[in-house]
Symmetry: none
Subunit: 412 residues, 2 copies
């Protein structure tokens, strides 16, 4: 099986941004056993007609990304229709989706986003207005996807890979999926190789987590390797399936019908932002205080001057007092706090990456845990701290021992 890709984007051929679609598609299709023979990157204003023709002659699949936007020169739709020997028609499903999403704004420039080659099927786009579509031209499977990564990437995983497996009749490689937190991708790959170098491991980094895929050998051998990996990284760091730390925290809050509040220092509002990201957040999230200055820790959250003088603002005592303070202030059932050194410089003599997380709950003992995160920069430490806080919040609500969990973590 052979596949080629046409990646459309003037910002790519002008060198403003670097293409990532070619590499992502290559990785996933190679993984499925498909040979990638050519990746062609062209600007929006070019012509892909001859390129598509040439690629169709020697490939089983051609995937085209980009050129579907309302203001683009729209090189993709008519060219694919032409190559398939059909006309463009308004797809009822795509049009009703557009109307639902945009209302009256659907008329005009966006209108053509509902036009697809006759006989082709649409691929749902949850994050944008241009659906993808697929069909056949001269026996070659043609798949067209929007260019923006946050639209294209989920479509690839949710729809295109399953579609390819079905249409190309590829053997269902048994592949298990896990989600891993906080470990660096390169380190995780190293640990996977150590757990079982004969298995086929794959990773996908996504800001607050890494998706981990494993296939090969028998299920029993894969499970044993995952078991070894789990021991190395510690409790709750490698969980089954496709999930994220925010969903774990929200799941615990919802199943206990509980509310939460947040007190932050080094994460500066990131944890609060995450807890208010999903619709319906007001059902569990009451509010937060970012106490960046020591005075705000004292005057707003009620951290005592003694704690700050004796232990410092990056300390177990301060983390616990922040958590208690914000829970008292907001009246929430639970609260979580973060205080630490995001860098680039040491603070109060404490190393960059030192982070305390505090947890408070009604009828619960307030606890705090210490992490010493490897520093890959300010943003990375803030992300790691927020992720750890969400995981520990979930565990704390579930009545687990947050301190023991944190102590089991390696390679952070």
């Amino acid at each position: 099986m052979k596949a080629s890709f046409i990646i459309i984007g003037t910002e790519l051929t002008r060198g403003i941004i670097q293409d990532s679609h070619g590499s992502l598609l290559s990785k996933e299709l190679t993984h499925m056993g498909v040979h990638v023979s050519e990746i062609v990157i062209v600007p929006d204003d070019g012509s892909i007609e001859k390129i598509l023709e040439a690629l169709m002659r020697s490939n089983d699949v051609v995937i085209i990304t980009g050129g579907l936007g309302p203001t683009s020169d729209d090189m993709t739709r008519p060219v694919i229709a032409e190559a398939a020997g059909v006309g463009l028609v308004r797809n009822p499903e795509a049009w009703s989706f557009l109307l639902g999403r945009l209302g009256d704004k659907a008329y005009g420039a966006n209108e053509r986003q509902a036009m697809i080659p006759e006989g082709f099927s649409i691929i749902e786009n949850r994050n944008g207005t241009a659906p993808g579509f697929y069909g056949y031209g001269n026996g070659t499977l043609l798949i067209s996807l929007p260019g923006p990564p946050r639209e294209m990437t989920p479509m690839l995983y949710d729809s295109v890979l399953p579609l390819l497996r079905e249409k190309l009749d590829l053997p269902e490689a048994e592949r298990d999926e896990y989600t891993s937190f906080i470990t660096a991708e390169a380190k995780l790959e190293e640990l996977c190789g150590e757990a079982d170098s004969a298995l086929d491991w794959g990773t996908r980094f996504q800001d607050y987590r890494i998706s981990l895929y494993v296939s090969g050998k028998t299920r029993k051998e894969r499970d044993e390797a995952i078991g070894r990996l789990r021991e190395r990284v510690g409790a709750l760091r490698l969980v089954d399936g496709n999930t994220d730390a925010l969903s774990m925290a929200i799941g615990s809050l919802r199943s206990h019908g509980a509310t939460v509040s947040v007190a932050e220092s080094c994460t500066g509002g990131l944890l609060s932002m995450l807890l208010t990201e999903r619709q319906g957040a007001s059902e569990y999230m009451l509010g937060s205080v970012t106490s960046y200055a020591a005075a705000v820790k004292m005057n707003v959250l009620g951290v005592s001057g003694r704690v700050i003088d004796e232990e410092g603002t990056v300390s177990s005592g301060c983390a616990e007092a922040m958590a208690d303070g914000v829970r008292r202030l907001t009246g929430s059932d639970y609260s979580v706090s973060v205080t630490g050194v995001a860098g680039p410089d040491k603070d109060e003599g404490k190393d960059v990456g030192t982070v305390y997380i505090g947890l408070s709950g009604k009828d619960r003992e307030t606890v705090s845990v210490l992490f010493r995160f490897t520093s890959w920069g300010r943003a990375s430490i803030r992300r790691k701290a927020a992720t750890a806080a969400l995981i520990l919040l979930s565990a704390y609500i579930e009545g687990e021992d947050a301190k023991a969990i944190a102590e089991s973590w390696g390679y952070i």
Copy 2:
């Protein structure tokens, strides 16, 4: 002038590493005023013969990277020689360089690295054994470079770019850069076309801003077009150079030696997270309160029950009371608040995208402004609201009329 690139590397088409040559070459050639029409990535074991033939027909320059290694299938040398209609000959300069570098090891597999198409010139490689080479085939300039980035990159800057400038007789291209806020990329492109469709516009979306590039015609004509665009989008929405709203806010805070605090509702901590993102944030940022629940607005920020009952939490009165409240709480010089409807559902009968921003400062009248952002989803409204808040905070500190600025904004 048109150029295309052929990038050879199996690790690229297997998705093991992401290509960076295509983007680097694109950036540098675009900057020189050359139009990049196609970037083709192929594996080591493929054939570039037909691709090269097709590209030579429509380009002034074709650059090929990779396929020059001693163990590679050596697809590059004979294909280029064939395309140029010449044979391969041992280049004396390349051979003596190889002998000097490798000694006796130069004989054998490496020997062919001194073979180049007859009549072509070599390009010195300071970091490897394969020199590059260039010459003409059917009037097209063909340049072959080794694949490893630490060999290719210095050769590009030291030899290839000067060579291109000389051979293509290129003038220095002028390109102006601006940063635009809050307008959707498609809308901005439309407005650029309306401002002057004969100019060459380029955009690059980056979450909280869009970089805008313009070249063509004279400086005066470009400036006039930018002037028309500025009138359409309103004050402070299109600024010179490569910057962002956070830098504008931080710049104003630093130049006035002032501190700030934040009160958020629909942005949930995003604005606070941004204001603590850069190192040294503690010099200007004291803290924030995210009052997601109405009770937190009242109990922590001191918003009166009367305001909430009569105007609602998404209102001018609530935004102003939130700003005043957090400034009182933290003792900051200035404060900014955001309350609005991020969606997906209406709230208190107010449409999704309705956002009030409040500004408070010592010895300043507290003000609030209303925005009705076009909704492209929850995350987009939160980003727009935070960006607007940063811009208005900067203007407010500079003593400008925030209300008038907000009222001048179109296409939000």
